[in-house]
Symmetry: C2
Subunit: 480 residues, 2 copies
């Protein structure tokens, strides 16, 4: 594999360029004709399908159902909740014309930036009585946000794949429990499928979703020291049910506004996973979401070819029959060394090398992508051992990432230390008085956002900025 | 169930009103705030998920992979193949503005009416050598077409769920085989999952897809005598590869244009299924796509309640553990009679009735939705018998529909007879000279389109219209 084909930038030296090379050269994504809009190639989409399958099952098992909403929302509907609209409006793509007509349509239509308003206009019709609640509907679709400064596939694009869940409940408590349950279900998906550890908690007033009462978040820290929001779960209270008049008759026949939630994760999860696990050679994919889990590279001279390929096919069939996603790379135009590099760049978790000497000993060589180690294995025990390896790799990748995250969160009491550790790429654990003025000042002076107020901590000190009594401990970091 | 809740129009008396009542009252769909754009409620989306799952597996098993394309296509790209653009342009929604800006964007952007042009702009980059071919990518997304006269959910809406497959091949023959293979795979899905029989063959030059060399189609006949196109598979030849310069280096190192196909089915399949199988009571769903396959209605007086509900739960668990999608209707506010009507309207294939007398005899009553028959079954044999019933119902629904379709295609030799049988709601099998003049005249005088040129027939007579030598046998009908 020539230098130009492989990754030519070191992850530690130029993280941003490294990321862009990785996502394009491994053929996860491609550019389309419009700036800011990204295409998912089959390997990239396959990762999204794995995430979707896992999360969709969890949502269905907890009583959520899927539906479909049109992508177009009339301006009058989108603007019905004022604060929400003001937050979204700068990013909206507007449809104004149809077909050949020079004349603008009567009302302009937004491409869905999110669907709270649309959902409320429906829930207004669908909810009549307490018997209709809770109503828990999820939508697998895309959202569109026009203003993109510096496109980054999976992280900043004008259209992104996501799911948006929208629920309505009879009580505040039940809706709050839904917000928390969804957060846990996201955490499980992200940590178990993508092997990416997350920190959960609340967003500050400043950082919460426009229109929400509060926002729960999952944050992870990238190797460049920037935090990435991996998903959010919003408690909307009655902020939308009131303007949209979403009411139900309770058991006493009284009309009451519903309590609502909304929540979403997007293909941003893929971006986080790539940044966390990748290395100078390219992608490192967790087995659970890898489009191919095992690649077999046959190594042969002319006279061994038939024998080696036959054995490789047998192994392929046997592993495939046990549910392993496997590929036999029998390309004739490339040497084994090229293939090793190619599949390492693509992040395939396990490589199996098989040549005449291995066959003579009834064994193969198994190479692990994530830690670059190799072992020899008997062919008779191969299926069982490979299944075990895939499990172990998934766990080891999570454990490694978790250790790094834990070490990257640093408790500080002094603002000087805050700034120093921030420069060291750390996430800052400190106390904060609760005033947005301090949050704004810190952002202004250091570029760091208040990422998350982790749940359950109590021993707050004085505010890192104003030195008044700290009401809570929080995590600051620069963000994506 | 009151008259107003149930279906109040007879299918035979006012087919169109009947259809609208069925799709809205059974809560498959709802209207959104914009005319022509339809929402899928959970039961409606669940049917689409079943179709998608079945078709997606077939596509993956035959080497197709999924990807993601943005919904926005620049005008310059969409208009690159002239004939294609002229056909689509009248129906395009145009994005012209972003955010708060009063200023129009430099170029207007189309909401995807179909993605041939977008795909070609990518295949131009992705295809280099014969080793990259065939390239077979499918996209599960929506398409948008603005001009909708008389919205009908699933049949005519401005946005619709579909899949669009796009393939590129080294030879004409391989591409033509792909077109035929996809048609068979669609036929299998439609007939086996939806129990809807279809007639396959070619579209005429007039009716083919704009930009295609030829279009293969699957047609079905609705109870009102109108034909419904259930899916199409297009041979694009080199009509797109030439303007988009999609070339590959063949084994002799010569540059050659690829041969392309594209194909799609949409949620229109659901509309066809509803029209074919439904009756005056409402939906009749084939078991394979029914969101709920079996509903249990417990029948009890106050003193029996606990005992009956307990037994009903046991049955529910036992059937559910055997993979049957089952629901126990334990609503207290409704009597069994209301529930019977409610689930009949919703088309659930099997109803199980269980009361104290049944329990005493260790049996239940099983009622079939499609033919309104009932049997008693021992509880011990229930799982096995229910699984068998679901299979039989699926088959019987297809057989009944197939018999009706076969009887509805009538061979005629005289134009007077053509018109008479058309009024009788028949699909007309006749000979045609091959000239578009005759096709246009027939359309003008009778409203019938040339729906399909079935493959493999040879014994053509004189043209039904001009009486010149008939070159081929074709099917005419009025269409949706």
């Amino acid at each position: 594999m020539s230098k130009e084909v492989g990754i030519t930038v070191s992850k530690s030296e130029n993280f941003s360029d490294w990321y862009m090379q990785v996502v394009f050269k491994t053929e996860l994504v491609d550019r389309g004709p419009i700036h800011g809009l990204i295409v998912l190639r089959p390997d990239g989409y396959s990762i999204w399908e794995s995430i979707k399958e896992s999360l969709d099952k969890k949502l269905k098992d907890t009583g959520h159902k899927n539906g479909f909403l049109p992508v177009l929302i009339p301006q009058s509907l989108l603007s019905k909740e004022k604060e929400h609209f003001e937050g979204l409006n700068p990013e909206v793509f507007w449809v104004t014309h149809k077909g050949n007509s020079e004349k603008a349509m009567d009302e302009k239509l937004a491409l869905r930036p999110t669907s709270e308003t649309y959902v409320c206009s429906l829930y207004n019709k669908w909810i009549r009585s307490w018997r209709d609640l809770p109503l828990k509907i999820n939508f697998w679709n895309t959202a569109l946000r026009a203003e993109i400064k510096g496109t980054k596939p999976f992280l900043r694009t004008s259209e992104f794949l996501w799911q948006e869940g929208h629920t309505a409940h009879t009580t505040k408590e039940e809706a709050e429990k839904e917000v928390a349950d969804i957060l846990q279900l996201y955490k499980k998906t992200i940590e178990e499928e993508l092997a990416v550890p997350v920190i959960t908690g609340k967003k500050s007033e400043k950082e919460k979703f426009v229109g929400a009462v509060f926002t729960d978040t999952l944050e992870s820290l990238m190797p460049d020291g920037k935090a990435l929001q991996m998903g959010t779960s919003h408690f909307l209270g009655q902020n939308f049910s009131k303007p949209f008049d979403v009411k139900y008759l309770d058991k006493k026949d009284d009309e009451t506004f519903v309590w609502q939630t909304s929540w979403g994760v997007s293909w941003r999860l893929i971006g986080g996973m790539i940044m966390i696990h990748g290395d100078d050679k390219g992608l490192v994919l967790p087995p659970k979401v890898a489009p191919i889990q095992v690649v077999i590279i046959p190594i042969y001279s002319k006279e061994d070819k038939e024998n080696v390929l036959q054995k490789a096919c047998q192994i392929k069939d046997s592993l495939s029959n046990n549910g392993i996603r496997i590929h036999l790379d029998d390309r004739e135009q490339h040497k084994p060394g090229y293939k090793f590099n190619d599949w390492e760049m693509k992040g395939i978790p396990i490589r199996i090398e098989i040549g005449p000497k291995d066959i003579a000993k009834n064994q193969i060589v198994l190479a692990r992508r994530h830690n670059q180690t190799k072992i020899s294995l008997g062919i008779d025990e191969l299926t069982e051992k490979t299944l075990l390896e895939l499990k172990n790799i998934q766990m080891e990748m999570f454990d490694t990432a978790k250790k790094i995250l834990d070490e990257s969160v640093v408790r500080v009491s002094e603002y000087q230390q805050f700034k120093k550790e921030l420069e060291n790429g750390k996430m800052i654990d400190c106390s904060w008085c609760g005033n947005q003025t301090c949050e704004d000042k810190i952002k202004e002076e250091t570029g760091a956002d208040l990422r998350v107020i982790p749940s359950g901590n109590t021993k707050a000190e004085t505010c890192i900025y104003c030195k008044n009594s700290g009401t809570t401990n929080v995590l600051f970091a620069r963000g994506y």
